[in-house]
Symmetry: none
DNA sequence: AACTCATGTGAAAAGTCCGTGAACGTTCCG
DNA sequence: CGGAACGTTCACGGACTTTTCACATGAGTT
């Protein structure tokens, strides 16, 4: 469990860190607002923030964090918050709100609850290698194989492939992909997803020619599905990119 | 939003239902523990339970619900709960705990937060495909299918079709359509909607001849409704506002 | 019937999106 | 310090989509 704490109340922080040490958590204490990117870099699964340390900016900051890191657990604390303040915070996107003074044990339990819920939802990761076309995707190795040989994916390439393959047949929008793989909201105009798709296609094609795995949906995003790359017709296939008349909707079981 | 409430405190329940009515939620009130299967049958996304109505059995029930329905949001209430009780509840698997007395608005906000969190994670189970005539409209693919084959819509074509089909049977004015699909007000004299309707009709007719989906209402706008394209007029318009534009067999393309 | 205006139609112009190669910055290692 | 591996950003050209326009057709009106 990794947590970021933004608070200036030294007494509270001392008691809290005590508890967290006992529980074996990793944490980092900060006295003021932290840029979103830094939260990402810390790889925390939750942030505990006393919104009063930032004054009025607190609400803006809260909103920004919640919208750009929807996967992050956000627990707000505040001295003597009113009902309407609490409601506002929760509506903005906070996952929980604890009014000070409060017992540190309860704070830990609430953070746990928030993170647990997150994990339950996203935990669609079944075990065992995923097979698709000639590919074998092994989550335990962060690598994909063809004929038992690694195709040399980097970490991000692998995560992108794993995401796409895990939603085989579905069209994923760039924003969604970025959110899932990079962990935070995509900046407008960012082309990283396109670039990585290209790298992936290149490596896939090199080791597994004859199959096309990643298909572009113009104006929307990408879809993973192993298909014969019509060897006869490298150019044709009318309306291929946008419309691809192909095997119908797969039952989206998810 | 669908919620199950298990509570015997009539005063609290009255105020709460008031609020939920205002918010347009669907709910069901119960005075005692409900079997897990019944919660499933109700298709609720969250349950608000006063654990004290069941006495000591409450903890057992709470644990059972949390472990067998991990996707369900669970918010516990209780009169004057101690810290250790709250911690226990949260550790068992409850998503949130509100100690009475409390403000109903905050309860709603907390339920919202719990459900929102759940949805963000695993919410792939959204709406199924929309069916109309021979068409299957899939929002997850940004595409429509006939006989399981994509009909090759572009993004805007798809959004126009989705809007019209979602309001099946209703006549939509051009301004309304433009506002919904394009996202901003239509400039005077803009013919984009007409052009896209034409493109849609063309693609629909190509893949699903025998049915007419989009009908013109002269001087008003368009209406979506799958109808036999034979000479028959199954829906005799009461001639009042506008007549059907009975465009005969489309000008031959071949 | 003749006129007027709304809508259908086809294609060209304008705009947007995406594939691609390469430069740049960062981190990690020797 | 230098180099390698990786991720990010940029610019360009082509592919595809959307808008615009001119004209044809058909509906409602006088």
């Amino acid at each position: 469990m990794r947590v970021a704490v933004i608070d200036t109340d030294s007494g509270f922080v001392r008691v809290l860190t005590n508890r967290m040490d006992t529980a074996g958590w990793q944490y980092r204490i900060m006295a003021s607002a932290v840029p979103v990117e830094e939260l990402v870099a810390m790889k925390v699964s939750a942030v505990l923030v006393d919104i009063s340390v930032m004054g009025k900016e607190g609400w803006v900051y809260l909103e920004k964090v919640c919208s750009s890191l929807p996967e992050l657990g956000v627990v707000v604390t505040m001295n003597g918050a009113t009902v309407s303040q609490r409601v506002r915070g929760l509506r903005i996107g906070a996952d929980d709100w604890v009014t000070k003074p409060c017992h540190p044990e309860e704070v830990l339990a609430r953070i746990e609850a928030v993170v647990r819920r997150r994990r339950t939802g996203g935990g669609t990761q079944s075990e065992g290698p995923v097979l698709a076309g000639e590919l074998e995707i092994r989550a335990d190795q962060f690598q994909a194989f063809v004929d038992g040989e690694s195709i040399g994916l980097t970490r991000r390439e692998f995560e992108l492939l794993a995401l796409l393959a895990g939603r085989e047949g579905n069209v994923l929008e760039r924003e969604t992909i970025y959110q899932e793989v990079w962990g935070y909201a995509m900046a407008h105009g960012d082309r990283s997803v396109d670039v990585f798709v290209r790298k992936l296609r290149h490596k896939l094609e090199k080791r597994s020619p004859g199959l096309r795995y990643i298909h572009t949906h113009f104006g929307v995003g990408y879809r993973f599905a192993p298909e014969q790359s019509s060897g006869l017709d490298p150019v044709a296939e009318p309306g291929a990119i946008a419309g691809e008349a192909e095997s119908g909707p797969l039952a989206a079981t998810a």
